[in-house]
């Protein structure tokens, strides 16, 4: 048995009115990959912020012992000095600096006060090789993909002589291929360099793949720690620990009643808004029927979101060509307003970035996209508006003390429900849901799935874009597969499987 590298004992952290952590205990052994799982709000990120010194010593109760010594970090630098490096979910890279500059940001290679550029880029290149990233360290961060940026973050951590690497939802915005690469890198670092990792993730299959031990948090308390070698760490077992009871199905059952074709798009081509010679969507054609849930699978950057956004009132792209039919008649959607009027809704993948207004209330967010439903003249009928918000709160079970609550104060799952409410409020016939379950916990996912099923059952056409293949397979009646802007396959539910979809993508990538 290897020795304990980190021990956090009886950690309690209070926020005004909330006990975010309640006597949490966790120990991490040297050279292991330790996963921390729990639903949103269970206290995972708070715990890591206590560990890394974001919340300084004195603002919490309990002790942290690292490498045999008690630690009292007052700032992040203190923990970094001991080789504890945290990589946050939102990457902390400067887009207009080079990879090399980012790697040594705050840790510059210098002679006296001057930056030694040769050393910077030389050492950066070496670190990049270690993490298996084939990029020149003089490339700007903005020019590489999110997956690669994630690797740069790890290279940056290595540059700080990391011993304990903390990754907060590292694969949240990565596709399956990049996720697997990242997980393999974590395993490699463990084997070759003896680096201990703590990984926080919602994706249980990843945890299964990578973790040696798993600590489960629920409502700010440690529930249990499972050992891969000794315990059952199957997904149902972990979920039981997380939610406190057995969960039978990951995807709710529904009675499929598919009606007539109600929406179709043909020969849809979209150019990149800046690089006009780049075709982001190429000649795509698809259709949806009433009551049907259609999935769009593909790698990150395959053009799925761009397809949906460009249909949604040209919210993306330039020189869009192609035709849209709704209920058999051709319609033109030159603006988002027109798209909303025609019963099209696009529920964005980035709920905080371009979906919700966090500084405003639930009510104000829900009615924003169709204010004319709650206004007479230019005046807002606040009673009617509030009533609508209350209806959606009850229908979608948004957990909030009041609908006047600011959306920024809600958990991810509840924010997602507000976003869905906002678009249901526009009375759409066709809904595009772009990564509707990204970054939300298992329970909330299930509820979102239920809402989707209910929408379909009410005769709406539902189109889901998701990078989570299991989710697409679990939810959709029909699946389109996209690759580099083209639709390369259409599969009915019965014929679809992870293997079939991946092989279609592989075939396309070989230039078939």
């Amino acid at each position: 048995m290897s020795r304990t590298l980190l021990e956090m004992k009886n950690i309690t952290k209070l926020f005004p009115g909330v006990r975010a952590l309640d006597n949490v205990n966790i120990d991490v052994k040297e050279g292991e990959v330790h996963a921390i799982v729990g639903e949103n709000g269970a206290g995972k990120s708070t715990l890591m912020n206590v560990l890394s010194g974001v919340y300084p010593y004195g603002s919490y109760e309990g002790t942290i012992t690292y490498d045999g010594e008690e630690c009292r970090f007052s700032k992040i630098r203190d923990s970094e000095k001991l080789g504890i490096v945290i990589i946050h979910q939102e990457l902390a890279l400067v887009p207009y600096l080079t990879i090399g500059e980012n790697i040594f940001l705050g840790n510059e290679r210098s002679n006296a006060s001057f930056i030694n550029w040769d050393a910077t880029f030389h050492e950066a290149d070496e670190l990049l090789r270690k993490v298996g990233l084939l990029e020149n360290s003089r490339t700007l961060i903005k020019d590489i993909s999110v997956g690669k940026q994630q690797l740069v973050e790890i290279a940056k951590a290595l540059g700080k002589n990391v011993r304990l690497l903390i990754l907060d939802e590292p694969t949240a915005s990565l596709n399956d291929v990049d996720s697997r690469k990242l997980l393999d890198l974590i395993l490699l670092l463990k084997k070759e360099a003896g680096i201990t990792s703590i990984i926080i993730s919602h994706k249980l299959e990843e945890i299964n793949y990578v973790a040696d031990r798993i600590t489960i948090l629920r409502d700010g308390s440690t529930i249990e720690t499972l050992d891969k070698a000794a315990d059952d760490i199957s997904e149902p077992r972990i979920v039981r620990g997380m939610v406190g009871r057995e969960m039978v199905d990951r995807y709710p059952q529904r009675n499929v009643a598919i009606g007539n074709e109600c929406f179709s798009v043909s020969n849809w081509t979209v150019r990149h808004p800046v690089f006009l010679d780049r075709l982001v969507v190429k000649n795509a054609s698809f259709n949806v029927r009433q009551g049907e849930i259609v999935g769009f699978a593909g790698l990150m950057g395959a053009g799925r979101s761009e397809l949906a956004k460009s249909i949604f009132g040209r919210a993306y792209g330039h020189y869009i060509s192609g035709t849209i039919f709704k209920n058999g008649a051709e319609i033109a959607l030159p603006s988002i307003r027109r798209a909303i009027e025609n019963g099209i809704a696009y529920i964005t993948e980035d709920r905080k970035g371009d979906g919700l207004i966090l500084s405003e209330s639930i009510t104000e967010n829900i009615t924003l996209a169709k204010m004319d439903k709650v206004t007479s003249g230019i005046f807002v009928d606040k009673d009617l508006e509030r009533q609508s918000a209350l209806d959606y709160r009850d229908k979608l079970r948004i957990k909030t003390p009041s609908v006047e609550q600011k959306v920024g104060n809600l958990s991810g799952g509840n924010q997602q429900k507000v976003l869905v409410s906002k678009w249901m409020f526009t009375d759409p016939d066709v809904l595009f849901l772009d990564e509707p379950t990204r970054g939300i916990d298992v329970g909330a996912k299930y509820e979102i799935y239920t809402i989707m099923n209910n929408l379909a059952a009410a005769g709406k056409a539902v189109i889901m874009i998701s990078s989570d293949l299991q989710e697409v397979l679990g939810m959709c009646d029909r699946i389109y597969v996209m690759y580099e802007g083209r639709i390369i396959g259409e599969l009915p539910r019965e014929e679809a499987s992870q293997e079939v979809i991946m092989s279609l993508i592989l075939l396309a990538s070989k230039g078939a």
Binding site: P16, G355, S359, L368, K370, I378, R386, A444, A458
Partner: protein, 424 residues
């Protein structure tokens, strides 16, 4: 009233969605971060944050009142304060609309104030146009300036900071062109009434101005009526209402202040005309920002521009409106200011944009947009006015006044930033 709730299709969804889910469904307990229980500390901070502006205003009035041996609060000086600061308050209301769209400011308003004053001077004094026609031309000119700047900002996408910096230079330059570098004076008497006049008194009550008393009492009764009935209405409809004691204190403080102000004004010459202009503007823009869909769009744009656009809001139009409106209000302020000075001078309005911007931030507007109220901005403008006026009475030099004003602005924004951080 359009309502989808009678649509059979919608009712179907209602039913579908309120049906209990399949047995596999798990029920989650309320998560800690959703609960937002209020500890006494948080409650205190919230109260302080909510009322910090009005508390500060009262404190600063008392301090200067004592330091000036009561001169600051004397009836004559209160009238003076109103004359001096109304046009800044008008500018600040327009500035708030710009700031709401995303922390965007308008640097050109001081120059527009000068330009409109010069135009008014030229039309009335040199060309001898009738007062009314001149005013209309000036207001149209203001809207024209707004359309010009709004076009570059909203439709061409030049950052407001740069567009209005250019405007600052252009309109100051044009002011000099119109005036030939000279000061024009005096304006016709009829025009002066706009700013320096008082509402005529219909019946005096002893030494007091009866009209002012009646209007003041009526305003207080209207205010109390609206507030109390609004609250009863809210309680009946099941809205969340705040602490009743706080509500009562709030009512007492505001009505008390209104009555005191009325009484003070009544002791001098009554209600200044410009106060009526200001009151109308404040009323219109309060309604616009808090009760209408276009007002909601302003906050939405400032809160999250991308989300606003994806919600089908024509963000360019909102931006265009904000800047056109700003120049229009700057024209109103320019006329008020020219009438007060009884002259059109080349340097009129210089640095007024800074006072207006400072009023907004002192009054609680967010430097990132999406947060701020007309009422708050009014308090901010009053605060700046009291500080200015108090220092003048105490004989502070211009240089010292600028230092103090700068520090006051910094202090208030810092206070705002820090209380927000704490309450997180």
């Amino acid at each position: 009233m359009k309502s989808d709730l009678n649509d059979p299709n919608e009712i179907k969804i209602n039913q579908m969605l309120s049906e209990p889910s399949t047995p596999g469904q798990i029920k989650l307990s309320l998560q800690s971060e959703d609960l937002e229980r209020h500890s006494p500390l948080v409650t205190f901070l919230n109260i302080f944050q909510k009322y910090s502006m009005i508390i500060s205003l009262i404190v600063v009035m008392l301090i200067f009142g004592i330091m000036t041996n009561g001169v600051l609060l004397a009836p004559r000086n209160i009238s003076n304060l109103i004359f001096q600061n109304s046009f800044i308050a008008i500018l600040a209301v327009g500035m708030l609309i710009c700031i709401l769209t995303g922390g965007n400011i308008d640097l050109s308003v001081g120059s527009i104030v000068g330009f409109i004053g010069a135009l008014a001077g030229h039309l009335m004094i040199v060309e001898k146009y009738p007062v009314f026609i001149s005013i209309v031309i000036c207001l149209i000119a203001g809207i024209g300036i707004g359309i010009w700047q709004g076009f570059w900002i909203a439709y061409i996408g030049i950052p407001p900071f740069i567009t209005t910096l250019a405007g600052q230079l252009v309109f100051r330059g044009l002011t000099l062109v119109i005036l030939n570098g000279l000061t024009l004076a005096p304006f016709p008497d009829k025009f002066l009434g706009l700013s320096t006049g008082f509402i005529p008194d219909f019946f005096a009550v002893g030494d007091l101005n009866g009209t002012a008393l009646v209007v003041g009492v009526a305003a207080v009764i209207a205010f109390l009526g609206i507030k109390i009935f609004g609250r009863i209405n809210k309680i009946n409809k099941g809205y969340e209402t705040g602490n009743p004691i706080l509500f009562a204190i709030n009512l007492i403080v505001i009505s008390g202040a209104l009555l005191l102000a009325t009484f003070t004004l009544a002791q001098y010459r009554g209600i200044p005309t410009v106060l009526i202009i200001l009151a109308i503007i404040v009323l219109i823009y309060s309604i616009l920002t808090s009760m209408t869909a276009p007002g909601r769009y302003l906050y939405a744009l400032g809160g999250n521009e991308k989300a606003a656009r994806l919600s089908g809001i024509n963000t360019k139009k909102v931006m265009f409106f904000a800047y056109t409106n700003m120049a229009f209000l700057a024209a109103v302020a320019g006329l008020v200011f020219a009438a007060r000075l009884n002259s059109a001078s080349p340097s009129a309005g210089q640095n007024n944009e800074l006072d207006a911007i400072a009023s907004c931030f002192i009054g609680g507007a967010s430097a990132y947009g999406g947060i701020g109220t007309v009422g708050g901005v009014l308090i901010g403008a009053a605060f700046m006015g009291v500080v200015n006026n108090g220092m003048s009475i105490l004989g502070f030099e211009q240089a010292a006044q600028q230092v103090v004003k700068g520090l006051v602005l910094l202090f208030f924004v810092a206070l705002d930033v820090m209380t927000k951080k704490k309450s997180k």
